[in-house]
């Protein structure tokens, strides 16, 4: 799909912007002289060439804000406000940024950032990226006291407006973070960072809990290691029945690390029951394997009605 950023990098205005960006040196604290005049000329240009120039610069706004904070604040940031006709294209370009930017930069465009969630003119792909940013910001705030001016309540409200696409992205970020932690540190990471962030921002709305979010929640589970019982208590209420004929989620559980099964077999059974729901007999691939692993760890579970019901749903083919 083409967007304004793709047009910009293929147009003279966008290339002129790239040349200027490459001429800004590490020593620059504010633009000056000829360089500033040319940045002004680009950003103030009328019509579509001007828009494409601003769009190309928007993708590098974190870099520009470090090198030329006053110029960026005066000339570029106002175009991110939704009152500007450029806002949709500039935010769309912003998703190509390599970085979110400093807390100060984020604070200056926080309002239009939060407003974009739920706007009909924002593409789902953009929503996915910015949902990921919300999770990343809250994680780094929680873990390192980074100081991004974003309250969990603001984040949760934005995610509620945005819908399941952004929520899946948040789940993915949380899962990837847990996956990156060493096994010995997983319980601490969950207790101090990921668990609190999850509880603070994950919306309670039933309609936002989908198969896609469930898949991501299970991805988080599979990365929790020793923290599995604590994570299960918090996350299982948000698990929804997998889509018929989908069941990739059950497969993920069937292949999950042995520590999870050992950490809390009963919670694992609860998790499987929540995902399978009222599936038809013999319809769930990989469920038999997951149940076998459970039984090997905790044989008594096989006598429970929940286990027996799941056994009926397991496919005979795997």
């Amino acid at each position: 799909m083409r967007d304004a950023f793709n047009d910009a990098i293929n147009a003279p205005a966008g290339r002129l912007a790239e040349i200027l960006l490459r001429k800004v040196t590490k020593e620059d604290t504010e633009l000056s002289g000829g360089l500033r005049a040319r940045f002004d000329k680009l950003v103030d240009a009328p019509g579509r060439p001007g828009l494409l120039a601003r769009v190309r610069l928007a993708a590098d706004v974190p870099f520009l804000f470090v090198r030329a904070p006053n110029w960026t604040k005066d000339k570029l940031l106002p175009h991110f406000n939704w009152a500007s006709p450029d806002a949709a294209d500039l935010w769309s370009a912003r998703k190509y940024s390599n970085a979110i930017g400093t807390p100060e930069l984020f604070g200056l465009i926080k309002t239009p950032f939060l407003e974009l969630f739920g706007r009909p003119d924002v593409q789902p792909e953009d929503m996915r990226v910015f949902g990921d940013w919300i999770a990343a910001i809250l994680i780094v705030n929680q873990a390192e006291d980074a100081g991004y001016p974003l309250k969990p309540t603001e984040a949760r409200a934005a995610l509620r407006r945005a819908g399941p696409t952004a929520l899946s992205s948040v789940g993915h970020r949380l899962a990837v973070d847990m996956e990156s932690v060493r096994p010995a540190d997983k319980a601490t990471r969950w207790r101090k960072v990921i668990g609190p962030v999850f509880e603070a921002i994950w919306p309670l709305d039933v309609e936002l809990q989908t198969s896609a979010t469930t898949f991501k929640l299970v991805q988080i589970f599979c990365a929790t290691g020793d923290a599995f019982p604590q994570a299960a208590r918090v996350i299982i209420p948000f698990i929804r029945t997998d889509e018929p004929h989908g069941h990739g989620t059950v497969y993920s559980i069937a292949e999950a690390p042995a520590e999870l099964y050992k950490a809390s077999p009963a919670k694992m059974l609860d998790l499987l029951a929540a995902i399978v729901g009222d599936a038809p007999p013999g319809s769930i691939y990989s469920l038999g394997k997951a149940l076998s692993r459970l039984r090997a760890v905790e044989p008594k579970l096989a006598d429970e009605r929940k286990f027996q019901k799941l056994l009926i749903c397991a496919s005979q083919h795997g």
Binding site: N10, P12, R15, L16, I19, K41, L42, R48
Partner: protein
């Protein structure tokens, strides 16, 4: 079988030698066609230009000769000027330089040179291209400004500032107007 190193026996070898002697032009079919009585192929074939067609032309006559060849070219003939720009951009520039002296600024020929990513052999080529672009008549420069902006973007680190900035300004003057962007045409 012989091609794949199998022993086809003395009689087979004798027969094969006899065939080759009687039919010196004969050769086995390509390996992937072995076993098929009929072989059909379809798909795109790149129409490649031939820079050698301009091999014996003097630099000062290059552009005129390339134009003459292009005017007579068949539908399936390749673009010889493009081939020259890809094979020897330094020589293509010398041709364009001579044409410019005569007031001829062929846009398509210049675009082929500016889009070419073949490394220059002559250390002066890059500088001379920038100098000529700066001399390009203002009223028609917008026709080549898209290619010029792409070329300039590739030369940020090597082109001296006293050429880079005037050329940046010239491209900006030609591009930052209300006129429709050329992005679509560039992609075509």
């Amino acid at each position: 079988m012989a091609r794949d190193g199998f022993d086809i026996g003395k009689a087979g070898q004798k027969l094969l030698v006899g065939i080759k002697t009687r039919h010196p032009q004969w050769e086995p079919r390509p390996a992937e066609q072995v076993g098929f009585h009929v072989w059909h192929e379809s798909g795109p074939r790149a129409v490649a230009g031939d820079a050698d067609k301009l091999k014996h032309v003097a630099d000062g006559q290059l552009v005129a000769e390339a134009k003459a060849i292009a005017a007579k070219a068949d539908f399936l003939d390749g673009d010889n000027w493009q081939a020259l720009c890809l094979a020897n951009p330094d020589r293509a520039l010398r041709g364009l330089d001579a044409a410019a002296e005569a007031g001829d600024w062929p846009v398509e020929f210049w675009e082929q040179l500016l889009w070419s990513r073949t490394a220059y052999s002559d250390p002066d080529t890059e500088t001379r291209i920038a100098q000529l672009l700066l001399r390009w008549p203002t009223e028609t420069f917008s026709n080549v400004s898209a290619a010029a902006s792409s070329w300039l973007n590739e030369r940020v680190k090597t082109l001296p500032d006293d050429l880079l900035w005037p050329l940046w300004d010239k491209v900006a003057d030609a591009s930052l107007t209300e006129a429709p962007e050329n992005a679509e045409a560039e992609d075509a």
